[in-house]
C-alpha cells in the first residue's frame, strides 16, 4: 500500500503544500503509520542553506548540544533551532555536503542523528501517525509551488520517524523522493553507495532511491534521465515520485505493478496512486489517466513565475 501524491502549480509559487496536504488526507487509509511532505519554491525556499536533522537517541537535549558544538567547530553556522523532533541548522554558506554528512551522522552522534533534508529551495517534514501531524508545517509554507507527499504503511522497517517518507538525498541539496512498492535489490545499491562514502541511517528500501538519483544526477544525468536509469537499476515494484527545486517527476516500473493516475491542466499537474486524491481538483472536462508501464514523466515550472 502507501499513498503517494505529487502536485505542481503551473501558475506560480503558491498553495502546493495545502493541496498536497488535502490530497494526502484521502490516502490516509493507504498508510496510517506515518505521513510526510517535501515542498519547494516560494515560501518553502530559505534565505540560505539549511539542514534538517532528526535526533533519535533517548537524550535529545544532550544530543542537540553535542550537535550544535560539533557542527559549529566544522561548518560556518548562522543559527540552530529546534522544530518539533528536528534540529534545523541554518548555514552561512553552501557546505561541502560530504563533510557535513561526516560531521552530523558519523561523529559522536553516530546512530542517533540523521540528515532528513538539506538544501535552500525546499523543505521536508514527516510525522508518525496520521496526516494531521503535517498541519503546522503546511501552514508555515503557503508559498510552496510544488512538492510530493507520502502516507506510509510500514512493511519492512519500523514504524518510526526515521523510516517515514519522503527521503531526501544527503549528497546533493534539494532532492526528495516518495515510493510505493518494494525495491528488492536495495541492499545491493546501499552497499555500492556506502563504498562511495554515503551513509544510510534508516532501514527502509526507499532510502536508497534519492541517494541513487542524486548519484546519477551528479554523474551528469537530468532528473528525467535519472528516473529512466531507475528503471534499469531497481528490481521490484515501484511507482516513484521525485522532486527538486524546479520539477516533479514520476517513474513507474516496467510491469506497472503499482497504481498511478495523472491529472494535467494548464494550471496544475496532480499525480497520486488513487483517483480519490485528485478527484476534488478536477474541474469540468478535466480527465485523469494512467500512464503505461515503464513510463517516465517530469513537469517543471512552478517557480518560473
Amino acid at each position: 500500500m502507501c499513498g503517494i501524491v505529487g502536485y505542481l502549480n503551473r501558475r506560480g509559487s503558491s498553495g502546493a503544500a495545502e493541496v498536497l496536504y488535502r490530497m494526502l488526507g484521502f490516502l490516509e487509509r493507504r498508510g496510517p503509520d506515518a505521513a510526510g511532505l517535501a515542498v519547494f519554491g516560494g515560501g518553502a525556499a530559505r534565505a540560505g542553506w539549511a539542514v534538517r536533522v532528526l535526533l533519535s537517541g533517548p537524550d535529545r537535549d544532550g544530543d542537540e548540544e553535542t550537535l550544535r558544538e560539533f557542527v559549529r567547530r566544522n561548518v560556518p553556522l548562522r543559527e540552530v533551532r529546534r522544530e518539533g523532533p528536528y534540529v534545523v541548522l541554518e548555514l552561512a554558506d553552501q557546505p561541502d555536503w560530504g563533510t557535513l554528512g561526516d560531521v552530523v551522522e558519523d561523529g559522536t552522534l553516530r546512530g542517533r542523528a540523521s540528515i532528513v533534508y538539506a538544501g535552500s529551495e525546499g523543505d521536508l517534514w514527516k510525522a508518525v501517525g496520521p496526516v494531521e501531524g503535517l498541519r503546522g508545517f503546511v501552514a508555515s509554507r503557503p508559498g510552496a509551488g510544488h512538492g510530493i507527499g507520502h502516507t506510509r504503511m510500514a512493511t519492512e522497517s519500523r514504524e518510526d520517524l526515521i523510516n517515514a517518507q519522503p527521503f531526501a538525498a544527503k549528497n546533493m541539496p534539494d532532492l526528495a523522493a516518495v515510493h510505493n512498492g518494494h525495491i528488492t535489490n536495495h541492499l545491493e545499491w546501499k552497499r555500492r553507495l556506502e563504498r562511495r562514502g554515503y551513509r544510510f541511517t534508516a532501514e527502509s528500501d526507499s532510502e536508497v532511491i534519492p541517494a541513487c538519483l542524486a548519484e546519477w544526477i551528479r554523474e551528469g544525468a537530468t532528473l528525467e534521465e535519472a528516473l529512466r536509469e531507475a528503471l534499469r537499476a531497481f528490481d521490484g515494484s515501484f511507482t516513484i515520485l521525485a522532486a527538486d527545486g524546479r520539477s516533479v517527476g514520476v517513474v513507474r516500473d516496467r510491469f506497472a505493478t503499482k497504481p498511478l493516475v495523472i491529472a494535467e491542466t494548464e494550471d496544475f499537474v496532480a499525480v497520486a496512486n488513487e483517483t480519490t486524491a485528485v478527484a476534488p481538483l478536477l474541474g469540468e472536462g478535466v480527465h485523469v489517466y494512467e500512464p503505461s508501464a515503464g513510463e517516465v514523466r517530469v513537469w517543471s515550472g512552478s517557480t518560473a513565475a
Binding site: 484521502f26 510491469f255 488513487e274 480527465h287 489517466y289 503505461s292
Partner: protein, 225 residues
C-alpha cells in the same frame, strides 16, 4: 429514477441500494458525487441502467451481469472486471486492466486505457478509442478487443484465442502474438461499433506455438522467457 450520493455511504451499501432499486423495477440509478471512489456498481445482476456522474475509482462495474453502466468521467483500474453481459461506456479514460477476464457484454472506453487492457478476456467486446498500455490482451482466451489508437509493448502476449484489432501503431507484439489483416467479420464488428473501417486495422491473434509447449523445445523457451 433513483439518485444515490456516493459521499454518504460505503460502497457495500451503495451497491446494495442499486440492487434493491433494480428489484423494485427502477429503470435508472444515478450515482452522484463519485469523486474517485472505488467499487462503484459492483455485483449488479439485473438489467438496470446505472449512471456514474463523475470520475470512478478502482473496480467500477466489476462482477456485473446485464447492467447498463455509463461513467461520465474516468474509471480507475479493473473496469468491468469479469463482466458477464451488459454494456459499459466510459466517457473518459480507464486505468489498468480494463475489461479484465470479461466473459461477455460490451465495454467502450472513449479515451485511453492503461496497461493490461483486456487481460485474460474470455469473451465479449472491449473497445478503446484511444491508446492501450503495455501487456494489453495478455493471456486473452476469447472475444475481441478493438483499439483505435496505439498499443504498448507486449500486445497479446501468450494469448490463446480471440482477436485484437488495432488501428494505430503497435509498439511491440508479445510472445507468440501474430499480426495480420482483418477478416470481413472484423470490419462488420468495427462498423457496428460506430468506428471507421477504413483505418489501417491490424488483426492480432495467437501464433499457437505456445499451445503445445514442450519443455525440450529450446527455441520456445527463448520466446517464453
Amino acid at each position: 429514477m433513483v439518485r444515490i450520493d456516493c459521499r454518504l455511504k460505503p460502497a457495500v451499501e451503495l451497491n446494495r441500494e442499486i440492487r434493491l432499486a433494480a428489484e423494485r423495477g427502477e429503470g435508472e440509478v444515478h450515482l452522484i458525487h463519485p469523486e474517485g471512489r472505488h467499487n462503484l456498481a459492483v455485483g449488479i445482476l439485473a438489467p438496470v441502467r446505472v449512471v456514474v456522474c463523475g470520475t470512478a475509482g478502482y473496480y467500477c462495474g466489476g462482477l456485473c451481469d446485464g447492467v447498463e453502466l455509463e461513467v461520465h468521467g474516468d474509471a480507475g483500474w479493473g473496469l468491468g472486471e469479469n463482466l458477464m453481459s451488459g454494456r459499459i461506456v466510459v466517457h473518459g479514460n480507464a486505468g489498468s486492466a480494463a475489461g479484465a477476464s470479461m466473459r461477455g457484454g460490451f465495454i467502450r472506453v472513449e479515451g485511453r486505457a492503461g496497461p493490461r487492457a483486456g487481460i485474460s478476456m474470455k469473451g465479449g467486446v472491449l473497445v478503446v478509442e484511444g491508446d492501450v498500455g503495455a501487456m494489453s490482451g495478455f493471456m486473452m482466451q476469447k472475444g475481441t478487443m478493438i483499439v483505435c489508437g496505439d498499443a504498448g509493448e507486449g500486445l497479446g502476449d501468450s494469448m490463446y484465442e480471440g482477436a485484437i484489432l488495432v488501428a494505430g501503431r503497435i509498439q511491440a507484439l508479445g510472445n507468440d502474438a501474430v499480426a495480420g489483416d482483418p477478416e470481413p467479420g472484423d470490419l462488420d464488428l468495427i462498423r457496428k461499433a460506430g468506428l471507421d473501417p477504413g483505418l489501417d486495422w491490424k488483426r492480432v491473434v495467437s501464433g499457437k506455438r505456445l499451445w503445445h509447449f514442450d519443455k525440450k523445445e529450446w527455441d520456445l523457451w527463448k520466446i517464453a522467457l
